[in-house]
Structures are given as structure tokens and as C-alpha cells.
Symmetry: C2
């Protein structure tokens, strides 16, 4: 797929995207954004600024190398995160939110914060539900 011209871009912007429609590209995008790994990586980069690969790995405990790399690649491809290789020795790679990624990270960080803040309520609800059955 070639790079888009401004005209093509304007054409696309006329389209109304609706994630409720099965075939709509925006549902696919919503799906990729709806991943705990995406949420954790974006939250980490928002809270701590630019981070090196190993720093992200340390922040998000239990994330495998494979998962991290894969998530970062996807985020880079979608223009949410920028990747910069510094020719130090050994090589170090820094990841940072792009403006686009920054506009999203606030939203997903708030979801993560909600989960942490409302964990007790959810646990109570679960206990009651499990009793009731």
C-alpha cells in the first residue's frame, strides 16, 4: 500500500467510521487498542515519558520479550509511538509517545486507573454474584 496523497486523505476523512458495524475498520482498530498490553505500555509511556526497551520491560512486570516487542511494533506502525535507535554500545532503543499516541494514552490511562480504583467494588460484586448463584 503506497503512501497517501493529501487528496486521498481528504477523501477518507469524509467517511464516517462506526465500530458498531462488523466490517468497519474502526472496529478492528478498537480491537487492537483493547489489549491489556497496549493499555499498560501506553500508560507507562504517559506516566514516565520516553523509556528504553528494558525500562518498559521492568515497569510492566511479567511481560515477555515477545509480547513487548510485538506490542511496540504495532503501536509504532499505528503512529502512536516513535522508536529511536541510539548507536551507543550496546545499542539502546528509546520509545516515546507521538502526539497521536499522547491523545489516546490519557484515555487508556484513565481506564487503567479506574480498574485500580474500583477493584474493591468489583470484588464485592463478584462475591455477591457467586453467592447468589
Amino acid at each position: 500500500m503506497p503512501t497517501m496523497t493529501a487528496a486521498q486523505r481528504r477523501e477518507l476523512e469524509k467517511i464516517q467510521f462506526d465500530a458498531y458495524l462488523a466490517e468497519c475498520k474502526s472496529r478492528e482498530l478498537l480491537e487492537t487498542l483493547s489489549s491489556k498490553w497496549v493499555a499498560l505500555v501506553l500508560s507507562a509511556l504517559r506516566e514516565k515519558g520516553a523509556l528504553r526497551y528494558s525500562e518498559i520491560a521492568r515497569t510492566i512486570a511479567g511481560a515477555s520479550q515477545k509480547m513487548l516487542t510485538q506490542t511496540l511494533r504495532a503501536l509504532e506502525r499505528d503512529g502512536l509511538v516513535s522508536r529511536e535507535v541510539e548507536p551507543t554500545v550496546p545499542v539502546s532503543v528509546t520509545y516515546e509517545l507521538t502526539p497521536l499516541g499522547d491523545s489516546l494514552s490519557g484515555l487508556v490511562l484513565s481506564v487503567k486507573a479506574w480498574a485500580e480504583a474500583n477493584m474493591v467494588d468489583v470484588m464485592v460484586a463478584r462475591a455477591e454474584y457467586d453467592d447468589r448463584t
Copy 2:
């Protein structure tokens, strides 16, 4: 697991939940919230108010019965959605956000809206990335 006493609840509230930790319950919760189906169901209920099962199915095109039921059960168990069976004929079941669910649905709706609004930018970024490689 039995229903919690107020004392147990207060005990729990002292705990700091942190989704960056692999073993933390809040990461597990974040994972269940990070699902396109959860996002779509919560968004639908927020935008349209209480809905019947068949209305949700119609709103979220392409969702299988199994997926819908499963998602709604999980949301009910977590106290985000209330389920009410009306003994009409045939039986009708309405789902509605609880106050807890309402406090979350705004956040996930904003993520869904972000995906729809920024679809073009992401597609442009993808095209450029695929060119570059």
C-alpha cells in the same frame, strides 16, 4: 467465596492495587475490561440506555450469541451491568448500566470514539510504515 463483611471491605480498601504488577488482581480486571466486546457493549448501553438482549445484538453487528451472553454475564458478575428478566411472553431481558458501570462506560466510550475519530491518522501512519519497511 462468601459475601464480604464491611470490615473485610475496609481491609481491602487499604490495599494499593497496581496493574503494573503481574500478580495483581487489578491487571486481571484490566484484561477483562480490555476487550472489544466489553467496550462495544458498555458503549451501546451508555449511548442508548437500557437495552434488551436482541437490541444489543442488533446494535453490535456481527457479535455471536455466545459472545454476547458471555460478555453480559461477565459484566453482570463484575457489577457493571444489571440484568432484569421480565416475564412477558416470550421472555424479555433488559440490561442496564449500574452506577459503577456508568462510571466506567464514559471512559471506554471515549476510547471507542477516539478510534473512530482518528482512524484516518492511523491508516496514514500504517501506510507510511509499510512503505518505509
